[in-house]
C-alpha cells in the first residue's frame, strides 16, 4: 500500500504567550489517501484552520508545532527549510475563504496565475499563459483569455474562488487544502464551486482536505469526515453513514444544527388579519460608478417589492447577495430613503424616513433591528450595561437609576445572558453573547416589529441554533412580529409563517413557508432549494453560469463631477 498523501500524527500547534506556548491544537490525527477527500469540520476556535496552516507552513510568527506531518510518506521535519518549501510549492495547493483578500488588487488575474509557474517552475511566460488559460477553462471560468487581462475587482466572488483554485493547480499538486472556500459565497455559487472541485478530483486524482464548519456540506462532498472540537479530533466518520455512525455528542449537536430541516413543532401564532407593516411597490436605486468608463450607472436594488406583515406574524425575505433584501430592511428602518412606493406601519405613513429626532424616537418604539455582524453593530467602547442603559433611556428619559438597572437586568434575563457579563465590553464576548446583547438592546424599546437582518448568519452552527431558539421564545412570549432577512432557507423554515423569495431586486415567489419550500413554483426557488447540501447531494454545474450578478440599467454618462 502506498503512503497516504497527507498524514498528521498527533499534530499540536502552540501559540506563543508570555507564559509559554498555549496549545491551540492538541493531538490532531488524520490521513488523506490518494484521490481521497476528507472533510475537517468544527466551529470557530476548534483549531481546524491552524492544523491546515501548519501543513502549508503558514502559521503566524512564533507558533510552534509538535507531532508529525508527512506528505507522501516524507516527514516534513526530516527536510531542511529549502526542501520543505519545494515540497509545499510542488505538492500542496491551498485555497482560502476570501480570495479577494488573497489577490493583489493592482495585478491582473494573468499575473497572479502565471507568477508561480514562472518563478517557481521556471516555465516560459508564454507557455505559462497558455497553461493558465487551460487551467481557468478546467475550473469553468468562462472566457479565460479575457479574464487573464482583468483585475480581481472585475470578477464576482464565485469566479475569484475558481481563479484561486485554478492557480493552486498550476504546479500539479497532489493535495489541495481548501479552507472554508465556500463560506463567503451564496448557496448557488457554493454548489458551482463544489461541482468544480468534484470534477477536479475525478480527473486528477487530487487528494482534498476540505475545511468547513458545515457538516452537511462536508458529508455531501467528502469520503470521510473528521470532526474537531477545541483543538482535538473528536471522531472520524465515513461520510455516507455518518448520520447513523456518529458517537460523539458534539457531532450530534452539529448534525442537528445543520441537517435539521423539519418544521418547528410549535403551534402557529394567532395572527391578526390587519397588516401591521404594509409595503407597496417599493423602489430603490443607487448611483454607482460604471463598470467601464467614467460614467455612472443606476443600480436598481429594489424594484416593485410589495409584502405585508400581520401583527404577531413572522415573514421571511430570502435571497442571495445583491437581491435587495437588506436594502428593503434598511428602508423600513429609516436607514435609506425609498425612491418610490409606500410603507405603512400600524396605519401611519412611513414612506419617508423620519425628519426629526422625536419622529425617529417614535418610530424606534415600533420597529427595531438586529444586524448581521454583532462584532460591528455594538460600540466597542461601551460595556453591555452602558449599551443597554442608553437604549432604555431613549424611550424612558425620566426613569431614575434603579429603574434603569432593573430594566437592564430584565433584558439580560430575557436573552439568557449571564448578568456577570454586564460590565464586559464587546471584545470580551463571544459572537453568540454579542448577538444576545444586540437582541436585548432591540427589545429595550418594546418594539412591535423586530427586523432581523441576517442576524444569525455570522454565528457558529451551534450558536445559531441557540439564537434561533431564543428568537422563537421571544416571539411566543412578547407577540412581536418578525421580519427575517436571510439567505438561509433552513432559518426561514424554522421561524417564519410566510416567505418572500427575492432575486435581483424583484420578488420571485411568495406564500406560506411550508407551501413555498415544499412545492416551489418559481425556478429560482427550486434552484435555491437544490443548492442546499444534504444527504445524497451531488453538486452540479448549472448553465447559464452566474457571471453577471447584478443587472444595471439606465447607463448615463456625465462629465460633470458631483461633490461626493
Amino acid at each position: 500500500m502506498t503512503a497516504p498523501v497527507l498524514e498528521l500524527r498527533g499534530l499540536g500547534v502552540g501559540m506563543p504567550t508570555a507564559a509559554g506556548p498555549r496549545a491551540l491544537v492538541h493531538d490532531c490525527t488524520l490521513e488523506v489517501g490518494l484521490g481521497e477527500s476528507v472533510g475537517l469540520v468544527g466551529e470557530s476556535g476548534s483549531g481546524k484552520t491552524m492544523s491546515v496552516r501548519a501543513v502549508a507552513g503558514l502559521l503566524p510568527e512564533g507558533f510552534t508545532t509538535s507531532g508529525a506531518i508527512a506528505v507522501e510518506g516524507q516527514d516534513l521535519a526530516s527536510l531542511d527549510a529549502r526542501g520543505r518549501r519545494e515540497l509545499r510549492a510542488r505538492r500542496i495547493g491551498m485555497a482560502f475563504q476570501t480570495p479577494r483578500a488573497h489577490l493583489n488588487a493592482l495585478r491582473t488575474i494573468g499575473d497572479f496565475m502565471t507568477e508561480a509557474m514562472v518563478s517557481v517552475g521556471g516555465i516560459d511566460p508564454d507557455i505559462a499563459e497558455r497553461r493558465a488559460v487551460e487551467l481557468l477553462d478546467e475550473v469553468g471560468v468562462p472566457n479565460p483569455e479575457r479574464r487573464l487581462r482583468q483585475h480581481p475587482a472585475e470578477l464576482s466572488g464565485g469566479l475569484l474562488q475558481r481563479v484561486m483554485i485554478a492557480s493552486t493547480l498550476a504546479m500539479d499538486p497532489r493535495l489541495l487544502l481548501a479552507d472554508e472556500i465556500t463560506t463567503a459565497l451564496d448557496v448557488t455559487t457554493q454548489e458551482e464551486v463544489m461541482a468544480v472541485l468534484g470534477d477536479l478530483r475525478r480527473h486528477r486524482d487530487l487528494a482534498l482536505l476540505f475545511i468547513t464548519h458545515d457538516l452537511a456540506l462536508a458529508g455531501a462532498v467528502c469520503d470521510r469526515v473528521v470532526v474537531m472540537q477545541q483543538g482535538r479530533t473528536v471522531e472520524t466518520l465515513q461520510a455516507a453513514t455518518m448520520r447513523s455512525d456518529a458517537q460523539a455528542g458534539y457531532t450530534r449537536i452539529l448534525m442537528s444544527a445543520t441537517l435539521d430541516t423539519a418544521a418547528p413543532a410549535s403551534d402557529p401564532m394567532p395572527v391578526a388579519s390587519e397588516p401591521l407593516l404594509d409595503v407597496q411597490d417599493l423602489q430603490k436605486s443607487f448611483r454607482v460608478r460604471a463598470a467601464r468608463g467614467a460614467g455612472h450607472e443606476n443600480l436598481i436594488a429594489v424594484e416593485n417589492v410589495s409584502f405585508s406583515l400581520p401583527a404577531g406574524g413572522s415573514l421571511g425575505i430570502v435571497g442571495e447577495s445583491g437581491s435587495g433584501k437588506s436594502t428593503t430592511a434598511r428602508i423600513i428602518c429609516g436607514l435609506e430613503r425609498a425612491d418610490a412606493g409606500a410603507i405603512r406601519v400600524g396605519g401611519e405613513d412611513w414612506s419617508m424616513p423620519a425628519r426629526s429626532g422625536s419622529g425617529r424616537r417614535a418610530r424606534a418604539k415600533t420597529v427595531q433591528m438586529v444586524f448581521q455582524d454583532p462584532y460591528q453593530s455594538l460600540d466597542r467602547r461601551q460595556t453591555v450595561r452602558q449599551c443597554l442603559a442608553e437604549a432604555i433611556r431613549v424611550h424612558r428619559p425620566s426613569d431614575d437609576r434603579p429603574a434603569v438597572t432593573a430594566r437592564t437586568v430584565e433584558l439580560i434575563d430575557a436573552v439568557h445572558l449571564d448578568p456577570g457579563l454586564l460590565d464586559a465590553r464587546p471584545r470580551a464576548l463571544s459572537g453568540g453573547q454579542r448577538q444576545r446583547v444586540a437582541i436585548a438592546r432591540a427589545l429595550a424599546a418594546e418594539p412591535r416589529i423586530l427586523v432581523l437582518d441576517e442576524a444569525v448568519s455570522a454565528l457558529d452552527v451551534t450558536t445559531r441554533v441557540e439564537i434561533l431558539t431564543l428568537l422563537e421564545r421571544i416571539r411566543l412570549e412578547t407577540g412581536v412580529s418578525m421580519l427575517m432577512i436571510t439567505h438561509d432557507l433552513t432559518v426561514i423554515r424554522r421561524l417564519c409563517d410566510e416567505v418572500v423569495v427575492m432575486r435581483n431586486g424583484r420578488v420571485e415567489e411568495r406564500g406560506e413557508t411550508g407551501a413555498v419550500l415544499d412545492d416551489p413554483q418559481a425556478q429560482y426557488t427550486r434552484l435555491l432549494l437544490d443548492s442546499i447540501p444534504r444527504e445524497g447531494w451531488v453538486p452540479q454545474r448549472r448553465i447559464p453560469v452566474r457571471t453577471t450578478p447584478i443587472p444595471t440599467i439606465g447607463m448615463e454618462r456625465r462629465s460633470r463631477r458631483r461633490w461626493r
Binding site: G334, A364, S377, E390, V394, A444, W563, R564
Partner: protein
C-alpha cells in the same frame, strides 16, 4: 471628585501605561513633566528676578551662581529660561487646542452632513492649506500688532487642515460602521451619537496628531519670536532669547542662545516620542 483630583489620579496612570517598559519613552515622559513644571512654576523657581539687570557679570559663562550664565545686560539666563517657559510652552498648547477644536468641528460637520456641505468645507480647508502657517502668522502680526496673541490665532487657523483632513476620514469611516446605524434605529439622538459615540472614537487619532501639532507650533512660535514679532522685551520666550543671544555667540558666550535652543529641541523631541508611542498605542487599542 473634582476635575483636578481626577486629573491628578488619571494622568500618572495614563503616563505609566503609555511609557510601558521603553526607557526612551520613560525619559521623554520625564522631560515633559519637567517642562510642564517649568511652565507652571518657572517664575517662582527662578533664582533671580528674570528682568533684574546686572544680576551677574555681562555675558558671563556658566558658573555655580549662574548655572546657564548671564546675558549682555547681566541678567541670569536660567531665571529667564524658567520665566519664559510659561509663554513658550503654553502658547503651542493653546494653538493645538484651538486648531484641534476648530478642525474637529469642521470635519465632523462635513462627515455628518455630506453632500454640498462637505464639498464646501473641503474646499475651504484646501484654501487654508495653501497658506503657510508662518506667513499667515507674520501677516497677522502686521495687521494686529506685535505680541503672541495674533500669531497664536493665525497658527491655530493654519493648522486646521491637517487636523480636519485626518479627522474627516476617520469620522466618515466611523459613521459608516453598522453600530452607528444600530444607534439610529434605536432612536438615539444625533447629538448623543456625536458626543457619546463618534467623538470618543476619534479621540485616540486626534490626540496622537495633537502631539505632532505641538512640535510644529512650538517651532513656528519660536521662529516668530526669533524674528522679533512675538514676545516683546523685556518679557522673553525661548525664541526671542535665541535671537537676543546671537551677538554674544561671536564674543564667545554661546550659552545665551544655546540653553533656550536646547530646551526647544528637547521638548519637541520628547513630545514627538510620546506622540509616536501614543499612536501605536491607539492602533493597538483599535484592534
Amino acid at each position: 471628585m473634582s476635575v483636578g483630583q481626577l486629573a491628578a489620579k488619571r494622568v500618572p496612570t495614563a503616563a505609566r501605561r503609555l511609557a510601558g517598559h521603553d526607557p526612551v519613552v520613560v525619559a521623554a515622559v520625564v522631560v515633559i513633566a519637567i517642562v510642564a513644571l517649568m511652565a507652571i512654576g518657572g517664575r517662582w523657581l527662578a533664582p533671580y528676578p528674570p528682568d533684574r539687570l546686572h544680576a551677574g557679570p555681562v555675558n558671563g559663562a556658566s558658573s555655580l551662581a549662574h548655572l546657564f550664565g548671564t546675558d549682555d545686560l547681566g541678567r541670569d539666563i536660567l531665571s529667564r529660561v524658567l520665566a519664559g517657559a510659561a509663554a513658550s510652552v503654553t502658547m503651542p498648547v493653546i494653538v493645538v487646542l484651538l486648531s484641534t477644536t476648530l478642525g474637529m468641528s469642521l470635519a465632523i460637520t462635513a462627515a455628518w452632513l455630506g453632500g454640498v456641505t462637505r464639498g464646501a468645507i473641503s474646499r475651504l480647508i484646501d484654501v487654508i492649506f495653501a497658506i503657510p502657517g508662518l506667513v499667515l502668522a507674520v501677516l497677522a502680526v502686521a495687521m494686529f500688532g506685535k505680541g503672541l496673541v495674533a500669531p497664536v490665532v493665525a497658527l491655530s487657523i493654519a493648522y486646521i487642515p491637517v487636523v480636519a483632513r485626518l479627522t474627516q476620514s476617520a469620522a466618515s469611516r466611523e459613521l459608516g460602521r453598522p453600530y452607528i446605524a444600530a444607534l439610529r434605529v434605536q432612536g438615539v439622538s444625533s447629538i448623543a451619537i456625536c458626543f457619546r459615540h463618534l467623538i470618543p472614537a476619534l479621540i485616540p487619532v486626534v490626540a496622537a496628531q495633537a502631539t505632532v501639532g505641538f512640535g510644529y507650533a512650538m517651532l513656528d512660535l519660536a521662529a516668530i519670536s526669533f524674528l522679533g514679532l512675538g514676545a516683546q522685551p523685556p518679557a522673553a520666550d525661548w525664541g526671542s532669547m535665541i535671537a537676543g543671544g546671537q551677538a554674544a555667540i561671536l564674543s564667545g558666550a554661546p550659552e545665551q542662545s544655546l540653553f533656550p535652543a536646547l530646551l526647544i529641541v528637547v521638548t519637541v523631541l520628547a513630545v514627538g516620542i510620546v506622540g509616536a508611542r501614543a499612536t501605536t498605542w491607539a492602533e493597538e487599542k483599535e484592534r
